[in-house]
């Protein structure tokens, strides 16, 4: 009976969460669209010749659709974006969508690797700290995690370049290897370029995951069922298994969200390492005042973050039915 009731519950929860996400996505698109119109200056400044006549300006504005009323522009932009058409870059005259997907792949590669490194190290530090609470190991691990969340990562990237590229000459300082990102291969000549940016980026999730895991482990160990298990004669290894099983869902959820933050916040690290990802593209769009490119990149990153949040929520609910009720 209980099992039969469980299913419709989960399905209802899933539907409710998905439906609640739709207005958020619409709101996010509206903000992305509005960004162009809060921007001071003429969005066509980079394509118009300095001596352009009003007539020419009008023609080009009509070409990009800038002459229509805002609601109409928004609807046109949104319906096109829904089928993957983000318009044409003002600076390069190439379709925005192609540029974004190419860059997105590069950023995803970097962010996934950084999340994995951060998760492994963060869980390790957090686990040890929570397990040996208030010991010197805990103090050390906590110090490492507070350092991870406090360090300006763009500066850490510079320091790593100074040490490993400038002084030791072991790893390249910038770029994605010979042939740029188009010729990417999983061989050493290319992977070398990924190491420093990925390690730099991993410091953020490492600190946050270490903090989360430490609190989780300390909390689980202080619960009665653990003392009960110990009293029944459970070995240290058995206790360890229970702690991991209870801490894993939350730790994995934090990891999922961190991936989203890294994807959205990669601009600083990509600037330091000239990594050809979405952050780098965003920088280009900002400084060339390329509004279609800016809108499209922000929209893709923000919507990816919303969807990732949804996936994390749903998998949390699937693993732990208590989540659905809250």
């Amino acid at each position: 009976m209980a099992a039969r009731e469980g299913r419709p519950d989960m399905l209802a929860y899933l539907l409710r969460r998905v439906v609640l996400t739709l207005p958020i996505m619409l709101g996010v698109s509206l903000v992305c669209f509005a960004l162009v119109h809060v921007a001071p200056g003429d969005p066509l400044i980079s394509v118009l010749p300095p001596d352009a006549t009003a007539e020419l300006r009008g023609q080009i504005a009509a070409m990009y659709g800038f002459d229509r009323p805002y609601p109409e522009q928004f609807l046109r932009w949104l319906t096109r974006a829904a089928v993957g058409d983000f318009g044409t870059s003002i600076a390069t005259s190439r379709p925005v969508a192609g540029e974004i997907w190419k860059a997105f792949g590069n950023t995803l590669m970097l962010a996934v690797l950084a999340t994995i490194i951060g998760f492994v190290l963060g869980s390790l530090f957090g686990f040890v700290a929570g397990y040996f609470r208030d010991s010197w190991i805990d103090k050390l691990a906590s110090f490492v995690s507070v350092t991870g969340v406090s360090v300006p990562h763009y500066w850490l990237g510079m320091v790593l370049v100074i040490v490993f590229s400038v002084q030791l000459g072991w790893l390249p300082a910038t770029g994605a290897g010979p042939g740029g990102s188009a010729a990417w291969q999983w061989d050493w000549t290319h992977v070398r370029h990924l190491i420093l940016p990925a390690v730099t980026m991993s410091v953020i999730p490492m600190g946050i995951i270490a903090r989360t895991v430490r609190a989780l482990v300390a909390d689980i160990l202080s619960q009665e069922f653990i003392s009960g298990l110990k009293a029944k004669g459970l070995m240290e290894r058995g206790v360890f298994r229970h702690v991991v099983k209870n801490a894993a869902p939350t730790a994995l959820a934090v990891m999922g969200l961190q991936l989203g933050y890294l994807l959205g916040g990669s601009i600083l690290i990509e600037t330091v390492f000239s990594w050809p990802g979405t952050g780098f593209l965003l920088g280009q769009a900002i400084f060339q005042r390329d509004m279609p490119l800016l809108q499209g990149t922000i929209l893709v990153l923000a919507l990816f973050f919303v969807v990732l949040n949804l996936i994390v929520d749903l998998s949390q609910a699937a693993l732990d039915p208590r989540v659905q009720r809250s």
């Binding site: 903000v31 960004l35 300006p152 500066w155 400038v166 933050y261």
Partner: protein, 295 residues
């Protein structure tokens, strides 16, 4: 009858017992890590205020003949930058803009976010729905992306940077304020205060603020370190503060090409950001455990 009503009408203040803040201060003073962090912050603030008297040189005076001198150069203990300006003086003056850019947005967001959250939580109903769904939209952006998108669209400059960062920090603060206020509103003694005729302002001032401000305050102190890193990050990208002003993030940006010539001079501004940010984080952690607030 009227006596009981007026006794209920003047609700007993829920600001925790008079000894509460004294206890927080006492616990905080026994926390050596938090005290060291506080001392560092005080020194940085003093340096920022008294920069013209403390700095050995003019932070704007450049010289083509003494560019990028190493650390330990006589007269320039921390070397010179790419335009020959004294690094030590620029780092000291940099504390002004860097601290201002980092702390102000959290301060603004603390007031605006609390106001939005408390209004939404107290009024409930349609007002709550409109306010909180709008907040949800901004909360749906990764914070770094939102900060860069806003200041990228608005353009560089101190005010635009401050505005963008404030907008980034309002949603999380509003959310906490809203959830605590909604919870407080349902507590029996608040219902009793309302039933006995206490005005909305009295209930908000006494019951809601007394319960809400503590958690938001601790959360906001934790945001300062994030805000410092982000604010300097904006300037590092060429948004935020414009040259020739001394600001740590901007200094890192202009010194980036110097890492092949004077790597350790180029890295110095980041050390300052790091020290400041970790001090605020450690102080916030200390405050959190002294106030016994979880999460």
């Amino acid at each position: 009858m009227s006596v009981t009503a007026s006794a209920l009408g003047r609700p007993t203040p829920v600001e925790r017992s008079p000894g509460y803040w004294a206890g927080v201060v006492r616990r905080l003073r026994r926390d050596p890590v938090a005290m060291v962090a506080l001392a560092i912050i005080v020194v940085l603030v003093l340096l920022a205020i008294f920069a013209p008297w403390v700095a050995p040189n003019d932070p704007y005076r450049s010289s083509m003949i003494r560019r990028l001198r190493p650390i330990g150069t006589p007269g320039f203990p921390l070397g010179t930058d790419e335009l020959g300006r004294d690094m030590l003086s620029r780092l000291i003056f940099g504390a002004r803009l860097s601290l201002l850019m980092g702390v102000t947005p959290v301060f603004v967001a603390f007031f605006v976010g609390s106001f939005i959250g408390i209004t939404a939580g107290y009024l409930g109903g349609k007002v709550n729905t409109v306010l909180m769904r709008t907040i949800d939209v901004f909360f749906a952006f990764p914070s770094v992306l939102l900060a860069i998108a806003l200041s990228g669209a608005l353009g560089a400059g101190i005010f635009n940077g401050l505005l963008s960062l404030s907008i980034v920090f309002i949603p999380p603060i509003a959310r906490i304020a809203e959830s605590v206020t909604t919870a407080v509103r349902k507590i029996d003694y608040v219902e009793a205060a309302r039933a006995s005729g206490a005005s909305a302002m009295t209930i908000i001032r006494v019951h809601v603020l007394g319960n809400v401000l503590g958690p938001i305050f601790v959360y906001a102190t934790g945001l300062i370190s994030v805000s410092l890193i982000l604010a300097s990050g904006l300037s590092f990208l060429g948004l935020g503060v414009k040259p020739p002003e001394p600001e740590w993030g901007l200094m890192l940006n202009t010194l980036r090409n110097a890492i092949y010539v004077q790597p350790w001079v180029a890295a110095l501004p980041g050390v300052m950001i790091f020290i400041t940010s970790i001090s605020f984080n450690l102080l916030s952690d200390g405050l959190r455990s002294a106030m016994d607030i979880k999460a």
